[in-house]
Structure formats: structure tokens, C-alpha cells
């Protein structure tokens, strides 16, 4: 086949060298590896540099030696942060917020997705699309009116909502619920109808149908949605920055930015250590559950 093409091409006077497919393939492969290494260097420079800096003492950082190498590695930054009460409070706040947001979101969105995907009722299709559209409304548009509303609630009822870490449990579902519901609808809709018919004939109610059939069958989807939910609530920066101010109410990202950067004095070794430890939970989840993570990422757009 190749020779025929080559002859035909040569007949037209074009110089096409199909000397060997395997050689051509190997050359493509080498170029692919070369460029992928360039991309990996670009993508991994900041995290690697974070790690390098986190092993340096302040003296070594300010000594203006080679920034890309550690001459006297030390764990003092890690020890300082992990024994500092403040950093552990940030960590605890972040963990509590994320766990609560994940549970709340998954409860709301699995119930709603089951209902929207399987139990058709008046307006259910419109509602499903509407939920997806609300996912497009960013937090940067919502935080100002929410801030004002909370101040108003305080004036009327005396309940102080601003400057408490738990207020994030109310706020973050605005970002997680619409998207999780949307991808759960996709996963539930792909479950064959025969399964719920069999369950109905066996006398299962809707709740049993959900807990005995839909949740076990769509478990990969539920894991993917949970991971998405956790990552979003762990990483969110705007809501805690706008709604909490006291040092003991901050979550990790805001805590690192506001307390470790004091005026113009940057404790870079500690900042990098803090940031690296803060990035660790999502990275660990990603390392173990990469396929679910990617499934969650692609489900959002391909099922759209």
C-alpha cells in the first residue's frame, strides 16, 4: 500500500520519502517525547521550586546563592508550621469546611439528580437545564450581594454570619451543588431502565431503588463528583477572603496569604512550605484516584 502511494506520488513528480514506516514513527515518537519534556518542565517548575524553597532556611534564601539548588537542606520550616497552633487551626478549618460541604452537596445533588433523571415530573427537564446554567454564575458575581444579605440578616435577627468559618458551609454549595447535580444526572441517565423496572416489579420503593441500585451502579460517578466537590471547597479563595477576617476563622489558602505575608516581610521558606502542605490533600487524592478525577473533569463537558 505504501509503495503504491509512493510510486503514485513519485509519478506526479513530488518527492515523498516513505522509506520506512517504523523509522517515521520512531522519529515522531522522539519529537513527541522531546516536546512533552519541554511541557513537563513548564508545568512542574513552580511545584518543584516550592519544594526546593521549602527545604531552605531563611539565611540560605537571603544569601542569594543558586535559587535552584539546596546546599543545606533543613526540615525546620515543616517543623515550625506543623507545631504552630495557627497553621493547624487553618488546616482544621479547611478540613471541616470541605468535609461538611462534600456531605451536604452529595446529599442534595444525588437526591435531586435521581429525581430529575428518572422521575419525570412537570418542569423537570427545564429544571435540569436551569441547574446547569446556574453553574455558570461565578462566585465573583455572587459574593457582594451575599455579603450584603448576611449583613441585613444580622441587622434584623442578630445572627452574626460574617467572620465564622462555618458560614463557608452555607456559601460553598453555591459552587458545588449545580455541577455535581449535573454530572450525577448524566451518570444516572446512563443506567439502563431495565434495572429500575426489575426493582419496581420486586416491590422496591423509590428510596430503595436509589440506595440499592442507583448509588452502587453509579458509584464511579459519585466518587468523581465527590472529588470535584472536595477540590473546589478546599481551594476556594474568594469566599473565605471576603467573609472571614479573624486569624482563627480562616481557611488554609487565605490563612497562608494573609498571615504569613506580613507587610513587606515575606517568610518565603514558610510560605512555600505552607502552600505545599496545603496543596497536598488534593494532590494525594489525585495520585490515588486519577481516573475518577479525570472522569469528573471530562463528564462536565462531554455530557453537556
Amino acid at each position: 500500500m505504501t509503495t503504491a502511494t509512493a510510486e503514485a506520488a513519485a509519478g506526479q513528480g513530488r518527492l515523498v520519502r516513505y522509506s520506512s514506516i517504523s523509522r517515521g514513527r520512531r522519529r515522531t515518537l522522539y519529537w513527541s517525547y522531546f516536546f512533552l519534556i519541554v511541557f513537563v518542565i513548564f508545568f512542574l517548575t513552580p511545584p518543584v521550586y516550592m519544594f526546593i524553597t521549602s527545604l531552605k532556611s531563611s539565611a540560605e534564601i537571603s544569601a542569594a546563592t543558586n535559587p535552584w539548588w539546596v546546599y543545606h537542606p533543613t526540615l525546620s520550616n515543616y517543623i515550625d508550621l506543623l507545631t504552630s497552633n495557627q497553621y493547624l487551626i487553618f488546616f482544621r478549618n479547611s478540613a471541616l469546611v470541605s468535609v461538611c460541604v462534600v456531605s451536604l452537596t452529595m446529599f442534595i445533588s444525588v437526591l435531586a439528580a435521581f429525581s430529575l433523571a428518572r422521575m419525570k415530573f412537570w418542569g423537570s427537564a427545564t429544571l435540569a437545564t436551569g441547574v446547569f446554567l446556574t453553574y455558570l454564575i461565578p462566585d465573583t458575581l455572587l459574593f457582594i450581594p451575599l455579603f450584603k444579605t448576611f449583613a441585613f440578616i444580622h441587622d434584623k435577627t442578630g445572627i452574626e454570619l460574617i467572620n465564622h468559618w462555618w458560614v463557608l458551609i452555607i456559601l460553598l454549595p453555591t459552587l458545588t451543588v449545580p455541577f455535581c447535580t449535573w454530572i450525577m444526572i448524566g451518570y444516572f441517565a446512563s443506567i439502563p431502565k431495565e434495572l429500575d423496572e426489575a426493582a419496581l416489579i420486586d416491590g422496591a420503593g423509590y428510596i430503595q431503588m436509589l440506595t440499592r441500585i442507583f448509588i452502587p451502579v453509579a458509584l464511579p460517578g459519585i466518587i468523581a463528583a465527590t472529588i470535584f466537590c472536595f477540590t473546589v471547597s478546599w481551594a476556594n479563595f474568594l469566599y473565605p477572603l471576603a467573609f472571614t477576617t479573624s486569624a482563627d476563622q480562616l481557611t488554609l489558602p487565605v490563612g497562608i496569604v494573609t498571615t504569613l505575608i506580613r507587610g513587606d516581610v515575606y517568610a518565603w521558606g514558610q510560605i512555600m512550605t505552607g502552600a505545599l502542605l496545603g496543596a497536598a490533600p488534593p494532590l494525594i487524592i489525585y495520585a490515588f484516584l486519577m481516573d475518577y478525577y479525570i472522569a469528573g473533569l471530562t463528564a462536565g463537558a462531554t455530557k453537556g
Partner: protein
């Protein structure tokens, strides 16, 4: 089918008169109760604040509505300010440039990963997705340290190569470049993953057919891959455009809008006006300028959903 079964099972038992108990057992009632928490969250925490933002934009700093018959309101005030037009320009430049480069890098890298033997792809894909996994606030701190005015690690390399030093975040043009660069760094892995998934769905026979017709690699990409991936390319770019348009973390941490407001985008400027400047209505008016972008995106996404609904 399930619906038919359900109706047969429940309706005859319920009879004509619906008591409260029977009503509670009806399928649509159960369905509605299950959706209720979702409706409450979306209505109370998304729809209501979004509408309240419009209402806020009509007020002055002391929360009184402007008289609609006079020309004085938040929008006329904003339109008369140079900073506002600078923010508009910067936001559009930032979002469009960042999305184009994210898409380009994602597209190219996806092709390279796709070229590799199947068993090796996993670990490359794993490494290339890391910027997307790290919380943006954390990775932006690393970039801030890389761009540090006196200890910049890039400048150290430049000094050894004999390239003049760069004031990364001090010079307005370089600051814009840095903000876009960090955004591209964070966002391109997402494009890579989406485009890789799309590439995998292009049938191999099409490439073989193109090869028989004498297509070179560029023609294969242009005439085979691009048309097959068009849908995913559009949707991903649109998604990213919304997110980039509303970006907050990167600009806030990296430059905080500086030098002299040259890198502010809508979100950071709205934050500065509303939370620091204590003028909540003005901040709300600025953040509303993100809405037209959302409306355009919503239109295209809805059209896409409807078209796919017809195909299915």
C-alpha cells in the same frame, strides 16, 4: 417503561379521591420533595443574590435607590472613569489571550501525548495535569516567589545567560504578561485532558484513509482531527472563557491589581471597591459586567444541548 409500570401500580390503588396520604405517595410528589433541597439552595444562594446584585447596582453608597429620571447613577459614574475602561480592556485582553494560549498548548500537548504508545500515556498525562490539581491560590504563591523583585529565580538564570533583568511584576506590561502566563499555566492541563479525550474518539480509519490519500501530518490535523473535535473545542473554550473572565485568585495574589491598577480585572476591582472601599453598590455594578459574557455562553451551551438532544 418504568413510568408506565409505576402508573399501573399506584394509580388504581389510589382511586379517584386523593387523600393526603395518597398524595404524599404519588410519584411526582416524591420527586418534587427530592428536588426541593436543590431548588432551595439554587434559588436562595444563586438566583436571589444574582437578582439582588442588579438591584444593588441601582443604589448609591448609602443604599438609597438613585432617582431613575436623573442621569446620575453608578453606571454613568463608571463610564466616566478612566480606570473602568482600563479594567474592561484588561479583562478582555486577559481572558481572550489566556484562553487562546491555553487552547493552543492543550491542543499541541494532547497530540504529543496521543502519539505515545498507549501504556506510557498514563504517567505523562498524570504529570501534565498537576497544575490543575494544585489549588490556584497555592500555585500562584509559588509564581509570586518566582517573580520576586530581588530574588527572582528567573532573573538568576537570565543573569547567568547574560540576558538583562526583568522587573516581572513592577512593569505594567510585564505584570500583564505574568498574570496571563500564570493563568495559562493553571488552565492548559484542563484543555489537554479534554482534547485528549476528544482525540481518542476520532476513528483511526479516518487517519488511514487520509494517509492513503497522501495527507501529511498537518493536513491530518486540519482536515480530520479539527472537524471531529470541533464540538469539544468550542465547549471547552467557552467554559474556560467564563472562568477566566471571572478569575479572581491569580490577579489578587500576584499583583493585587497593581502596578497602578494596570492589571485589575472585573472581579478584583469589584472586590476592592466593595469590601475595601466599602461601596457595595458600586462593586456590584462592576461585577455585573461579567453577566453579558455569561449570557453569550449560556446561549451557545443551550443551543449545544438542544442540538444533541435532537440527535439522540
Amino acid at each position: 417503561m418504568a413510568d408506565v409500570v409505576a402508573r399501573d401500580l399506584h394509580i388504581p390503588a389510589a382511586g379517584r379521591q386523593l387523600t393526603l396520604q395518597k398524595f404524599a405517595r404519588r410519584k411526582s410528589t416524591i420527586a418534587f420533595v427530592m428536588v426541593l433541597p436543590l431548588i432551595l439552595v439554587v434559588a436562595g444562594l444563586v438566583i436571589y443574590p444574582a437578582l439582588y446584585a442588579i438591584s444593588l447596582a441601582m443604589m448609591n453608597k448609602s443604599m438609597q435607590y438613585f432617582n431613575i429620571f436623573t442621569a446620575k447613577n453608578n453606571f454613568t459614574f463608571l463610564f466616566g472613569r478612566n480606570t473602568f475602561w482600563m479594567v474592561v480592556e484588561q479583562t478582555v485582553l486577559f481572558a481572550v489571550t489566556a484562553v487562546i494560549f491555553k487552547a493552543l498548548i492543550g491542543f499541541i500537548a494532547a497530540h504529543f501525548v496521543h502519539n505515545l504508545p498507549a501504556q506510557g500515556q498514563r504517567k505523562w498525562r498524570g504529570m501534565l495535569l498537576i497544575p490543575w490539581v494544585i489549588p490556584p491560590a497555592m500555585s500562584t504563591l509559588a509564581w509570586l516567589w518566582l517573580f520576586d523583585p530581588s530574588y527572582s529565580a528567573f532573573n538568576w538564570v537570565f543573569a547567568h545567560l547574560g540576558i538583562p533583568q526583568v522587573a516581572w511584576l513592577g512593569n505594567p506590561y510585564w505584570a500583564r504578561f505574568c498574570v496571563i502566563l500564570v493563568n495559562v499555566w493553571v488552565g492548559s492541563p484542563f484543555f489537554l485532558i479534554m482534547y485528549l479525550a476528544a482525540l481518542k474518539s476520532v476513528p483511526e480509519q479516518l487517519h488511514e484513509a487520509a494517509a492513503i490519500d497522501g495527507a501529511n501530518w498537518l493536513q491530518k490535523i486540519w482536515y480530520v482531527n479539527l472537524p471531529m473535535m470541533r464540538n469539544i473545542i468550542q465547549i471547552t473554550a467557552l467554559f474556560s472563557l467564563i472562568v477566566t473572565f471571572a478569575n479572581f485568585d491569580i490577579v489578587k495574589i500576584l499583583t493585587n491589581g497593581g502596578p497602578v491598577d494596570q492589571t485589575h480585572v472585573f472581579a478584583t476591582w469589584a472586590f476592592t471597591l466593595a469590601i475595601w472601599g466599602n461601596d457595595i453598590p458600586l462593586g456590584a455594578s462592576v461585577s455585573l459586567f461579567m453577566a453579558p459574557m455569561l449570557a453569550i455562553a449560556a446561549y451557545f451551551i443551550l443551543r449545544n444541548i438542544r442540538r444533541r438532544g435532537n440527535e439522540a
